[in-house]
């Protein structure tokens, strides 16, 4: 009998966690966010038009809670899509696993870093 003292650990749970968090966040608030930023704010429907002013949106991005919300929404939405796209492409046998990982998780990781960088550059 072979006893392995150090079991091989999988990275998958990390991606499942990000996928699940993004899935739940988008399921609960996604439709409202699209209605708000895609229709209400650009056309001034139901909200004052100054809500979409540069100064207003910048103030939101300066606020630490605003920063956190922006970061969570953008990065978790990306991780959610990345996991789903990865598993679907894997099932479609669209390419080798490493390539698919780079094209999905890799892109999500890169865009998460860009989001973090922009939020830090915009300042407090």
């Amino acid at each position: 009998m072979i006893i392995r003292t150090t079991p091989k650990r999988s990275m998958s749970p990390i991606f499942w966690l990000l996928f699940g968090a993004g899935g739940m966040l988008s399921a609960l608030f996604g439709p409202a966010l699209i209605i708000l930023t895609g229709f209400m704010m650009p056309h001034g429907w139901g909200v004052p038009s100054r809500f979409f002013d540069f100064a207003h949106v910048l103030a939101f991005a300066h606020n630490p809670i605003g920063k956190l919300v922006t970061f969570a929404v953008i990065s978790l939405f990306f991780w959610h899509g990345a996991e789903r796209l990865f598993l679907t492409l894997k099932d479609m046998r669209a390419g080798n696993i490493l390539m698919l990982r780079m094209a999905t998780y890799g892109v999500a990781a890169l865009l998460t870093l860009i989001t973090l960088f922009l939020l830090m550059e915009i300042g407090f």
Partner: protein, 134 residues
């Protein structure tokens, strides 16, 4: 001499485009639409970082009919994501037992849909009320 001839079930190349797998494909791709909407928001963040002129152009793009069409499609995909997310949720979580009885999958799905509706509606209501009061 015996020759081994294992049976290989054939799999059509585009199996995912046919029933019943098409429902799976559409469900998974609705999750990808979530990421596409994230990209729309990231584009806004980039324009915000670049300055007022870039942000004004972002506003113009978002006010265009093309943007409305894209957002309408994103909204449809997002709603399908909400519907299917809570349909699969009871299948992926441990059994929930309350007062010695298992809560049915249909009930968990219904609770999920209701919470999604309440969260989105309350969020929009808070934004509108904030706008009216400010």
């Amino acid at each position: 001499m015996s020759e081994r001839k294992p049976f290989h079930r054939t799999q059509p190349r585009y199996w995912w485009a046919h029933k019943p797998y098409l429902a799976y494909t559409v469900r998974e791709l609705s999750g990808v639409a979530v990421a596409l909407y994230g990209a729309v928001l990231l584009a806004g963040l980039i324009c915000l970082w670049r300055g007022p002129e870039a942000f004004d152009r972002y506003r113009q793009v978002l006010a265009s009919p093309w943007s409305s069409l894209v957002h309408l499609l994103l909204l449809v995909a997002m709603i399908w994501h909400v519907v299917t997310w809570f349909q699969t949720m009871p299948k992926t979580m441990p059994k929930l037992i309350l007062h010695g009885r298992q809560v049915s999958q249909q009930r968990l799905t219904a609770i999920g849909w209701l919470s999604a509706f309440v969260c989105s509606a309350v969020f929009l209501a808070v934004v509108v009320v904030t706008g009216v009061l400010s």
